[in-house]
Structure formats: structure tokens, C-alpha cells
């Protein structure tokens, strides 16, 4: 007579499967474990740490998947994720630039480096370039004051940097990224 009678209108199986696909088996298992705890809601931050550990950031689809699998309202999940400084809501670049803004570096001209970096990359602190290459972040003291002003790109330390060196440093990494992407297909062939 009417389809509603015959067909199931419950979409939970699909919603759940989609959430599991987004997070992957390891995280699904971890959330299962959390749900068995007395107060699964209190496990939200622990879950978010795991998710960021795996993906490098907390994207909308990952947060929604956490909401469904942990059964915590999505507004709460995204509210918590956006509150804590530690959680990142945007993917990070291939190269993370940490400019020291501690006292010694600042006195030695870190402010001018900050301006130059923002200009060259076209982004503000905390943002990532559109091509996903660089993320610009400010750090407090990095403990290398004798080299001030200092900036760190991934694991490389650059000391006594002047604003006119910035384009040269950035260029190094762009070249490095290009080399890596050229090497990759070659490696795959062998």
C-alpha cells in the first residue's frame, strides 16, 4: 500500500558505517572501548587527541564521525574542538615554520621576520598556505637565544635570520618538496 510500511526508514546502519569509514578500524575500536567506560562523554577529549594524532588535524567529517560513534552531540564535539588551543581544525602544511617570538628573538628583530614571512606566504600566523606547503606558527622561547632571531622549519633550525634571507629559506623547502615528489614515482617503479 505505501512504501513507508514496507521499507525501513532507519538510516543508522549507513550513518554508522560512514562514520567508521572516516575514522578507520583503530579509532573505531578505541571509541568502542571508551563507550564501555562509565561516562563515555567524558572520553571526548581523549578521543579527539587520538583522532588528531592519526590525521594531524580535526576535520569536519572526523568530528561528525566522532559525534555519531561516541553519541555526543556534534555541536558539543565541535565546540570542544574549537575551544582548546591544542586542537587544530585545519590540516597543517608539509613544512611547519615556527618563528620564535621570545624576548631575545624579539629584541633581535623577530617582528620584522614575522611581517616578512606573512607577506611572502600570504597568510597570517596559525594559517596554512593554499597549496598545503607551509604552516606559519609563532613559538615562545626555543632555548636557542644565542642564535636569535631563530626560526625552525620542521626539524631544521635557522639562526641569526634577516628578513632578506626569508625568501631564500622558503625556496629551499619548495625545491625540497619538488625533489621529493619527483623521486616518489621513480621509487615506485623500482
Amino acid at each position: 500500500m505505501n512504501c513507508q510500511h514496507a521499507c525501513s526508514t532507519d538510516n543508522w546502519a549507513e550513518v554508522k558505517a560512514a562514520a567508521e569509514r572516516v575514522l578507520g578500524e583503530d579509532l573505531v575500536a578505541f571509541i568502542e572501548q571508551c563507550r564501555a567506560e562509565q561516562d563515555p562523554h567524558s572520553q571526548l577529549i581523549a578521543v579527539l587527541h587520538r583522532v588528531q594524532g592519526k590525521f594531524g588535524y580535526l576535520g569536519q567529517s572526523q568530528l561528525d564521525a566522532v559525534a555519531q560513534l561516541l553519541q555526543v552531540p556534534a555541536a558539543k564535539v565541535s565546540g570542544v574542538a574549537s575551544f582548546y588551543h591544542y586542537f587544530r581544525l585545519q590540516p597543517r602544511g608539509k613544512f611547519i615554520i615556527n618563528l620564535c617570538l621570545g624576548t631575545a628573538c624579539y629584541v633581535k628583530g623577530a617582528d620584522r621576520l614575522a611581517e616578512k614571512l606573512s607577506d611572502e606566504l600570504g597568510i597570517h600566523f596559525g594559517e596554512t598556505t593554499g597549496d598545503g606547503m607551509f604552516t606559519l606558527e609563532g613559538a615562545r622561547c626555543l632555548g636557542a637565544c644565542s642564535l636569535a632571531p631563530v626560526l625552525v622549519v620542521n626539524d631544521d633550525m635557522h639562526g641569526s635570520v634577516t628578513p632578506d634571507q626569508i625568501p631564500i629559506i622558503l625556496d629551499q623547502y619548495i625545491k625540497k618538496a619538488r625533489q621529493q615528489s619527483d623521486e616518489k614515482p621513480a621509487q615506485q617503479q623500482t
Partner: protein
């Protein structure tokens, strides 16, 4: 069992000694003395936030100001609610709230009934000493129902609490931190892309204009000024019980006649009554119920008049969709008849009929735009939905002296309704009207009684059995979706076998709808006392009518005879029934 009497606590407020039960807050104790401590984030039906600090008082000996909303009394406590220092501190707190608030009171929708504005006035903020940076957030007016303007938000959190604690939707939370904190749905997506059910309770509890209904006033003015258009209006049952508040009439004053006259003065070509749609809904729904009873289900049948509930079902309980009555809401039924039967009778092409619906509801704006409620030519059956607030504003804008208007009558044929239609506007009303009709069809006798007070779920939730002839009908009535969840979970788990369930999204039913007037002085929003008065107006109207049972409506008889055939006929199904489908994102229940 004898309830243990609470310990009595002796305190002093502003020098007056009084005794109150243990657990009373300072704010509540002060109210006993007739002192209403200024407040903002506090709401008696919501959890305590204690975040705005407007309600601070001085507690002797503590050396600190205490938020009176969340401070319980203790033996020997001595409180000052007013001192020069307290008044200054309260004024500074409100001044700081204003400092990053837009300075546009004169052009704001809440001008005149904004709690922040009222507080600033009553606490004596007469200048702005600090010129703080203003918030510059994007406004989300993409929804056809709810507009979110975070620039006006003062982060009191009342919307967040009503959405989660009363409605069980939990669509809102604070995002970000510090100066850039914003209240909004997950990821701050557009309202219609979130789990929002458009009930509009966030608008009701907001002290400012951070949430508003999407206005339809301009398009209605435009239609009224268009000589080509035949502009018709229908008013929901609960409007007549609340509209008077907009013109300083005491709450609970029935205003049917004045409302009709005002609508005519505004220029509407015909004034119809959604109550007729309600009578029609009852006849169709009773027929549907009987069919389900005979065919083995699906039972329970759940009412489908409340569009907030329908959205909630689609997002939170999609497995219950087969249980929802397929009947369109009274508004949509009446709009459908206006553009088919009425247009045909009048010899006006349906596209020249402009249907305006005045509703207590914000979600009706969303319902009117649903693809299920479009004509074959792609035009909507309901062209514009106005909330009670918007209609009040239009009447004032026009300059109509509402309180001195003579009574007018609705137009035939779509304005003739029974008392059963009137009570649709309050909790249990649809159930009561259904039971009146069920008597008729299950026993073939007129009902032995017309009033079923046992289904009036004033406290939010009722489950009971009602004997009708040989049968014992198991019914549940819920208003406020957190209450509804309790019943729905019993259905999904199979713990209870109900026959019929009435669900209204808003507390108290439509009388507490998201589009109703902001509360008059001495009432708070969602005040049970206010809802009781509005409900009493509807029961008074019902009681005063000769015809109180939907089957007795002579206009309906004629419409069936001339146009629809019989209840549940193919034509009735095609025009008056609809189907729903699961919607994403899925809500967490």
C-alpha cells in the same frame, strides 16, 4: 511515606529577616520579599550558568560579590541586594556587555523588548565609557526560518541550554574562545544544514536579537499592494489566545473577533481559520487511525501537525517515520484547499491566490518551503508565513487601534470551525479532538463527554488509557522534545504499546511556540503561568462554541460532498496527505 520536611534557614536580606527552606537561592529568597534582583543569563526552567554576573549581591563577611542565582542560603546569612557599590558594579557589568555590542538599538528588531536594553536602562547606563572593538561575524540568514546573528550575542548561553535541555536537540554550543567566541551549530554551518529543527525556542529565550525569525513581512505587504493578487490569510488556533499581549491586553484574553477585523483592515481579501484545517486534519486522521487499527498498524500513530516535531523525527528518529500520520498539518491542508477548492469556486487561477498563514511557529516557515508542499506548477501552497510577533508588528505599523476594534467573523467556507479546532493550539488538544472524533467513529454514537482533561499534558508528558466504547485506547501526549524523547524511546524499544501519540515540539504546545509574543511584564518566556492563561483562552473559546466535534463541521461536510469525496478518498490522499523521509545530519538523541 511522609516527605521529610526541609530544614528551615534564617537569613536577612536588606535588613529584613526571613526564613526559607534549605536549598533556596538568594535570588529566590529575595523574590519572597518582592525584590526582583536584575538578571540576564538566569532562566528558571534552565540549568544555572551563573556566567553573566548581573545578579550579584553582597554577602556580609565574605568580602566578595556573589551571583545570587546560584548561591544557596545558609544559616545566619546576611545579604545586601542594593548598595552604592553593588549598583555600580552591576551597572559596570552591563556596560561592559554593551561595549562590544552593536550600537544600533533604534534599527534593531528587538528595539523596545530587548532584555539587554531594558537592563541598561534600569541599571542606569547613560553613557559608553569604553569603545571596545565590535564583533564582526558573518550573519547566517540562509534558513527560511531562523536567522543567527552572532554580532548581537552576549554569550549568556540561554539558547544553548533551551536547545539541549528543553528540546533535546543540542544544536547550539559556544565555539572558539575569548573575544571570538560564537554560539552556533556544529562547525558553524548554516542552520538548515545542521540538526536544527527550526522550533525557534532560541529566538524566544534570547535576551537580544542574536536569533530571530526570518521575516516575511515585506513580501506580505507587497502582495497586499498588488491589485492582481487575491490575498487570503489563515490564522492558527493559538494566535487568538496570544495576540492581545502585543497590545497590552491581559494574557489569556481571547481576541478572535478583533484579530479578524484587524486582518480585514490590513487589506486581506478573505480571512480564513486554520481551525477548519484542524477539523479536517482530525477527520482524516481519525479515518487513518481506524484504517491502521483494522489493518494491524503501524501503531502507534503519531500526530504530524508540528513541523518542529516532523524535522526532529526525520533527523533524530527516522525509524518512526512510518508511525507519523500521513495527514498534512492544518495549515497545509487549509492552504491546499484555498488554492484548489476555494480558487475553483471563486473562479480565480491558483497562481493569483496569495496564501498567508499566521502561525505561532517559526518552523512553519520551513514547512511552507518543503518540496512536499508545492503545487504541481512548482509554486507553494502557502506563500508566506508570519509569526504572531510579525502580525502584531504589521498591525502596529499600519496604525490600527487593535483594542478598540469591533469583532469580525471569519469568511465562509474556510473560516468555519468547531471547538475541536481551537484546542489544537495547546498541549493535548489534538489528542482531545481526536478522542472526540474517535467516539464518533468507533461507537457510532455522539461522544459521552467532550472534555478529556487527562490528556492535557501541562507538565510536559502524559501517558494514560482512555476508554472509548469497548476499547481502551493507550495514549501519550508530549510537548517539548526532551519530554517526547521519553515516550519515543519506549516505542523504539518496544516497552510500551501505544495507540496514539501526540507530539508538539514546543513547551505547552503551539501557545508556547517559537513565534509567539515576547512575554509581557511580570512573566518570563515559557512561563507556565503565561502558558496556562493562553490555554485557558482556547478552552474558553471551545467551551463557548455550539459545535465542538470536528465531524459536526457543516463546512467540512460540504467540502467533502462537493470536492473531496469521503475521508481517506483518493482525492483526499492526493491533496491532504504527504510522506516524510530521513534527513541528515542525523541527530544524537
Amino acid at each position: 511515606m511522609i516527605r521529610k520536611r526541609k530544614k528551615q534557614i534564617n537569613i536577612t536580606i536588606d535588613g529584613t529577616p526571613l526564613t526559607v527552606p534549605e536549598g533556596t537561592t538568594v535570588m529566590q529568597a529575595a523574590e519572597k520579599l518582592g525584590i526582583r534582583i536584575p538578571r540576564l543569563c538566569y532562566h528558571p526552567d534552565l540549568s544555572l550558568a551563573g556566567s553573566c554576573r548581573v545578579c550579584i549581591v553582597e554577602v556580609e563577611g565574605t568580602g566578595a560579590y556573589t551571583a545570587s542565582c546560584s548561591a544557596p542560603v545558609w544559616e545566619g546569612m546576611s545579604v545586601k541586594t542594593n548598595s552604592p557599590a553593588i549598583r555600580e558594579a552591576r551597572r559596570d557589568i552591563v556596560e561592559l556587555l554593551l561595549d562590544n555590542h552593536p550600537m544600533d538599538c533604534q534599527t534593531c528588531d528587538r528595539d523596545g523588548n530587548c532584555e539587554l536594553q531594558n537592563l541598561a536602562y534600569s541599571l542606569g547606563v547613560r553613557e559608553r565609557l569604553f569603545a571596545g572593538a565590535r564583533k564582526e561575524f558573518p550573519i547566517d540568514d540562509s534558513s527560511s526560518a531562523v536567522v543567527r546573528n552572532p554580532n548581537k550575542c552576549i554569550l549568556c548561553g540561554r539558547c544553548v541550554r533551551v536547545c539541549s535541555e528543553i528540546q533535546g536537540v543540542y544544536n547550539l554550543s559556544q565555539h572558539g574562545r575569548g573575544f571570538t567566541t560564537q554560539v552556533g551549530p556544529a562547525h558553524l554551518v548554516k542552520m538548515d544544514d545542521s540538526v536544527c529543527i527550526q522550533c525557534g525556542q532560541c529566538i524566544n529565550v534570547c535576551p537580544t536579537a542574536a536569533f530571530l525569525e526570518k521575516s516575511s513581512v515585506e513580501e506580505v505587504w507587497r502582495a497586499l499592494a498588488d491589485p492582481e493578487m487575491h490575498v487570503v490569510v489563515q490564522t492558527a488556533p493559538s494566535i487568538r489566545a496570544a495576540i492581545g499581549e502585543g497590545f497590552d491586553l491581559p494574557p489569556g484574553t481571547p481576541c478572535t473577533g478583533k484579530m479578524v477585523t484587524a486582518l480585514r483592515l490590513l487589506g486581506f481579501d478573505a480571512v480564513f481559520d486554520t481551525d477548519l484545517g484542524a477539523d479536517l486534519t482530525i477527520v482524516e486522521e481519525a479515518h487513518e487511525f481506524l484504517t491502521r487499527l483494522q489493518n494491524g498498524g503501524p501503531l502507534p500513530m503519531i500526530t504530524s501537525c508540528s513541523p518542529g516535531w516532523i524535522s526532529f523525527m526525520e533527523k533524530f528518529y527516522p525509524e518512526l517515520i512510518p508511525h507519523a500520520s500521513t495527514c498534512k498539518s492544518p495549515m497545509s491542508m487549509l492552504s491546499t484547499l484555498a488554492k484548489t477548492y476555494y480558487a475553483e469556486q471563486k473562479g480565480i487561477p491558483p497562481e493569483k491566490v496569495f496564501m498567508v498563514a499566521v502561525m505561532p511557529c517559526v518552523a512553519k516557515k520551513y514547512e511552507a518551503r518543503r518540496p512536499e508542499h508545492m503545487m504541481e506548477n512548482g509554486l507553494p501552497y502557502t506563500d508566506a508565513v508570519l509569526t504572531t510577533r510579525e502580525l502584531i508588528w504589521m498591525i502596529k505599523c499600519y496604525g490600527i487601534e487593535f483594542t478598540s476594534l469591533p469583532d469580525g467573523d471569519f469568511d465562509a467556507p474556510l473560516g468555519l470551525a468547531t471547538g475541536a479546532g481551537d484546542i489544537f493550539g495547546t498541549t493535548g488538544g489534538v489528542m482531545e479532538a481526536t478522542l472526540r472524533a474517535a467516539y464518533h467513529i468507533l461507537t457510532d454514537r455522539p461522544p459521552e463527554r467532550l472534555e478529556f482533561t487527562e490528556v492535557r499534558a501541562v507538565e510536559g508528558l502524559r501517558e494514560t488509557y482512555v476508554a472509548i466504547g469497548e476499547r481502551n485506547i493507550h495514549v501519550a501526549v508530549a510537548n517539548g522534545l526532551n519530554n517526547a524523547k521519553q515516550v519515543l524511546d519506549k516505542v523504539t524499544s518496544g516497552r510500551e504499546n501505544f495507540h496514539v501519540i501526540e507530539v508538539m515540539a514546543c513547551p505547552g504546545g503551539c501557545i508556547g511556540g517559537g513565534g509567539q509574543p515576547y512575554p509581557p511584564p511580570h512573566y518570563h518566556i515559557l512561563d507556565p503561568q503565561l502558558l496556562k492563561k493562553r490555554a485557558a483562552a482556547l478552552y474558553a473559546i471551545d467551551g463557548s462554541k455550539k459545535l465542538r466535534e470536528s465531524y459536526e463541521n457543516p463546512a467540512l461536510e460540504e467540502i467533502y460532498e462537493k470536492f473531496l469525496g469521503s475521508p481517506g478518498s483518493e482525492r483526499a490522499h492526493q491533496l491532504l496527505h504527504t510522506h516524510y523521509s530521513p534527513k541528515l545530519p542525523r541527530g544524537i538523541r
